[in-house]
């Protein structure tokens, strides 16, 4: 195998090894609850990915929950690949959600047009919120990481305020906005889950992001600027434009995630709507090797493990569902240790090579 092939192979191997290591270490935690790890993992898997019949299908719920993760993950991919360490997905996601919840009842439009219009507006809102750190970075050299952290905090409070006051529908105990119009709702496929058009849009977005980044000239500019600023400058690539464009696209994707979550799942926005789905997008992007295909796979995996922990472990085995979060945390930790894997993969490969004595002469 050539070196390039090996590298591509490792891109798959490392996350898989990380997942296996995370699950193995989690065994210790499962044992603390005096449950058989094999039984626990069986329950987790069935509750997360199992399918009895089409209306009682955990897998469909998993796909529903994977939808926002895919989009916020893609948002992070576009930013990271372009050299912008933006963690602003949470804020952009919330703005997209607030806009969707508001326009869902505040304006009347015919079906199909209504959700398309709303999603467009949510994407614009997210893009605008992504534009701010982009411009500050390019014009004033302000670190985008810090700016996005601050903007996230502002967005969380802004969303909370909107739910508590301007959008609040009744003075009940928990604040929420009115249900959005039927014309605005995104259709779902089957009863029993909210798995629907949103998921298709997310997968389509993954494909578009791939084609954009790797096949188009603006995507080329963004990747070159992200991989080597000096090289981009040397070659005459407009890095500043590329960085701002990256933040606009990244923001739009996160905004779309918020929009779909409202239009396709919750149909309204309620207090404490922010549960960190934007931040999860970062983990998904990193574990998915900042590649759209990896993001789709990892988002589904994450959603499934969470659902399995919640419905399976907690309800069936009386293991706290936080174990799901712990597993995901461990998996991310092992991904962060990729150097460890790289070294060991290389060593294993050398050892195997010597073991099978395939000492063919190596070209220079």
């Amino acid at each position: 195998m050539t070196h390039d092939r090996l590298k591509q192979f490792d891109a798959f191997l490392i996350p898989i090894l990380a997942v296996i290591s995370g699950l193995l270490v989690s065994v210790v935690l499962v044992l603390l609850t005096k449950t058989s790890p094999i039984e626990a993992y069986r329950i987790l898997f069935v509750a997360g990915f199992g399918c009895n019949d089409l209306t009682h299908c955990a897998l469909f719920t998993t796909l529903e929950r994977a939808t926002p993760l895919i989009l916020t993950g893609l948002s992070a991919v576009v930013a990271f690949r372009s050299g912008m360490f933006s963690i602003g997905q949470e804020g952009q996601y919330l703005l997209g959600a607030v806009v969707a919840a508001w326009l869902g009842y505040a304006i009347q439009l015919p079906p199909v047009i209504h959700p398309i219009f709303i999603m467009t507006m949510s994407m614009l809102a997210g893009a605008a919120y992504g534009w701010v750190p982009g411009v500050l970075r390019v014009k004033l050299g302000v670190n985008e990481l810090l700016v996005t952290i601050v903007l996230n905090a502002i967005a969380v409070l802004f969303a909370e305020y909107m739910v508590q006051f301007p959008l609040r529908s009744d003075p009940g105990a928990t604040a929420h906005s009115p249900i959005i119009d039927l014309t605005a709702q995104l259709p779902t496929f089957l009863p029993g889950s909210k798995w629907g058009v949103g998921f298709i849009l997310a997968v389509l977005a993954a494909y578009i992001v791939y084609v954009y980044l790797w096949r188009s000239t603006p995507g080329y500019e963004q990747r070159m600027a992200g991989q080597s600023k000096r090289f981009a400058l040397f070659g005459g690539i407009p890095s500043d434009q590329a960085a701002i464009r990256a933040m606009l696209i990244s923001g739009a994707l996160a905004g779309l995630a918020g929009s779909i979550e409202i239009l396709g799942v919750h149909r309204r926005i309620m207090q404490a709507f922010s549960v960190g789905l934007g931040f999860d997008g970062l983990s998904v992007a990193i574990l998915g090797q900042t590649h759209p295909l990896g993001v789709v796979i990892v988002a589904i995996l994450f959603a499934g493990v969470r659902l399995g922990a919640q419905l399976g472990l907690q309800l069936e085995a009386q293991i706290p569902r936080e174990l799901g979060g712990t597993m995901i945390g461990l998996i991310i930790l092992f991904v962060a240790l990729r150097k460890f894997y790289e070294g060991n993969i290389e060593r294993t490969r050398n050892w195997l090579g010597r073991f099978f004595n395939r000492g063919q002469s190596r070209p220079e």
Binding site: T2, H3, D4, K7, R215, S216, T217, P218, Y220, E221, R223, M224, Q227, S228, R230, F231, A232, L233, F234, G235, G236, I237, P238, E346, R347, N350, R362, P363, E364
Partner: protein, 514 residues
């Protein structure tokens, strides 16, 4: 004479790059001799010495010092066995004094307190003893490079080294400093020290060494007494074939002015003036060389000309049009090509493949851009074309480039920059770190571009390169043009003086071209 150092059967395989850097290398140095270690880049010189100094662990082989086997796993072990190393890039703290640098980690103290006076006295004594005068109280940052090197040598001597390894010691020096270093090395040898002198400049071998070992492709290609060999023979041993050491070029046919710098000033990264009011022009069909010791503003000047750094003042003209405030892209569209000094971080992007590296300055052209999408087939064809025309060994279209040798990387850069027949080429240190064979190739490519009618600005710290290629030579010192010389008649000494800041004699002083 007895052997001071004997390395036998040293083998080191780097799995990460799949390179056998050392392959059963035998290397022996007699006590008290100056032993030159020469070889192309990547031939394994540095690996061999890193193994000796405990920086790299060999897969097999053994080391004997003064006939006794030793185990060296860290630099401490090397120092304990009397081996000292002066690295190519000095490991000095700019804000320290000379005495603090030399005594670092072994300062004399009184009840845990430093005693600066005693330090200075000890260092002065040490310098005296070895005939290497330095001012113990001077700060490193105020010293010229030659002096900093002397501090490094004293540092090694203070640690009782008997075997000194000097890694490419002349790379950063002016000719005068080189001569001084040669004298110091000879004296050390006379005083009984053993010196291993790593270099790729064969003329230095003849000047300073008693014996020479040539490394090629990870093996010792032979050791000889310097008196019994010649420069062409050493070059052949290094490369494995006949090498043209001289550049053949036709007389200059200078044409229109393709580039003019007028009163240009530039500041460096830290905001200090790096280039002050520099003016010159480059004509079509000529190579203008800029000589000078590294760090005298050449980098900033090149960055300003190529659009990577803003000017502080002055004007730039490319092909009769003002280019002072143009972007890199606009300058390139007007015929600029740029061979940067740092090919790894600036000239190439090692994280992506060959095809994408080759289109960085022309991906918008119709050839590669179809309605906003990359035309991957024509990218691949272009890569195949560059590989063929510039015979880039080991590169494949669509393949990675991070594991190519320096010479092949530079061929990719040159292939990209010379494609499209630019009218003005800026080449900054185009052969830095390259082996003899690749240097020959780069020089030939530049001369061909010149004969085709391009104007070339060649910036190099290698004086021989400047003299061999240039039609006119400017010498830069502290951000200014110190003088212009004619490469056909100028001597190395004459240029060396200008490089060191001396003022040109009135007779040879040529005012900067307007």
């Amino acid at each position: 004479m007895a052997l001071a150092l004997e390395m036998t059967g040293i083998t080191k395989y780097f799995a990460s790059t799949d390179v056998k850097a050392n392959d059963k290398v035998d290397f022996a140095v007699e006590a008290g001799e100056v032993h030159a270690l020469v070889g192309e880049n990547g031939a394994g010189k540095t690996t061999l010495m890193s193994i000796l100094y405990g920086l790299v662990k060999p897969d097999s082989g053994e080391i004997k010092v003064d006939g006794k086997p030793v185990v060296i796993t860290r630099p401490d072990d090397a120092i304990r066995n009397g081996i000292g190393m002066v690295h190519q890039h000095f490991k000095l703290v700019p804000s320290f004094t000379v005495a603090q640098s030399i005594l670092l980690g072994m300062e004399p103290n009184r009840a845990g307190f430093l005693t600066p006076n005693e330090e200075n006295r000890a260092v002065a004594e040490l310098a005296e003893r070895h005939g290497l005068p330095v001012d113990p109280k001077a700060r490193i940052r105020d010293l010229p490079v030659g002096m900093q090197q002397r501090v490094e040598i004293l540092k090694v001597l203070e640690r009782n080294a008997r075997i000194l390894v000097l890694d490419e010691p002349t790379a950063v020096l002016t000719p005068q400093e080189v001569a001084e270093l040669m004298r110091v090395v000879r004296n050390l040898s006379k005083a009984g020290y053993t010196v291993v002198f790593i270099t790729h400049k064969l003329l230095e071998v003849v000047r300073v060494a008693d014996r020479v070992s040539v490394m090629r492709a990870g093996r010792n290609a032979g050791s000889k007494a310097v008196a019994e060999t010649t420069v062409p023979e050493l070059a052949r041993m290094m490369v494995g074939r006949e090498v043209l050491l001289k550049v053949n070029k036709a007389p200059r046919q200078a044409g229109e002015v393709v580039f003019a710098a007028d009163d240009v000033s530039v500041t460096d990264v830290r905001g200090f003036p790096a280039v002050t009011r520099v003016s010159f022009n480059v004509r079509a069909g000529e190579i203008l060389g800029i000589a000078g010791v590294s760090g005298n503003g050449q980098t900033e000047l090149v960055e300003a000309i190529t659009g990577m750094r803003a000017l502080d003042g002055g004007r730039l003209v490319i092909n009769t049009k003002d280019a002072t405030t143009l972007s890199v892209r606009e300058r390139r569209e007007r015929g600029l090509a740029h061979i940067p000094e740092d090919r790894i971080h600036v000239g190439l992007n090692l994280d992506t493949n060959l095809d994408e590296n080759l289109i960085v300055s022309r991906y918008r052209l119709g050839q590669f851009n179809r309605a906003g999408f990359l035309n991957r087939r024509s990218m691949r064809d272009f890569a195949a074309d560059v590989i063929k025309r510039f015979s880039v060994a080991a590169a494949v279209p669509g393949g990675g480039i991070s594991r190519l040798s320096g010479g092949n990387m530079q061929k990719i850069v040159i292939g990209r920059e010379l494609a499209g027949e630019p009218s003005f080429i800026v080449a900054n240190q185009p052969t830095r770190g390259l082996d003899v064979g690749s240097i020959e190739f780069v020089h030939r490519s530049l001369v061909e571009a010149r004969d085709r009618g391009a104007g070339i600005l060649l910036v190099s710290v290698e004086l021989e390169e400047i003299l061999a290629l240039s039609d006119r030579v400017l010498v830069m010192y502290r951000g200014q043009i110190q003088g212009e010389v004619d490469p056909a008649t100028a001597t190395e000494e004459q240029i060396g003086l200008l490089m060191a800041g001396a003022h040109p004699e009135p007779a040879s002083a040529a005012g900067p071209a307007a």
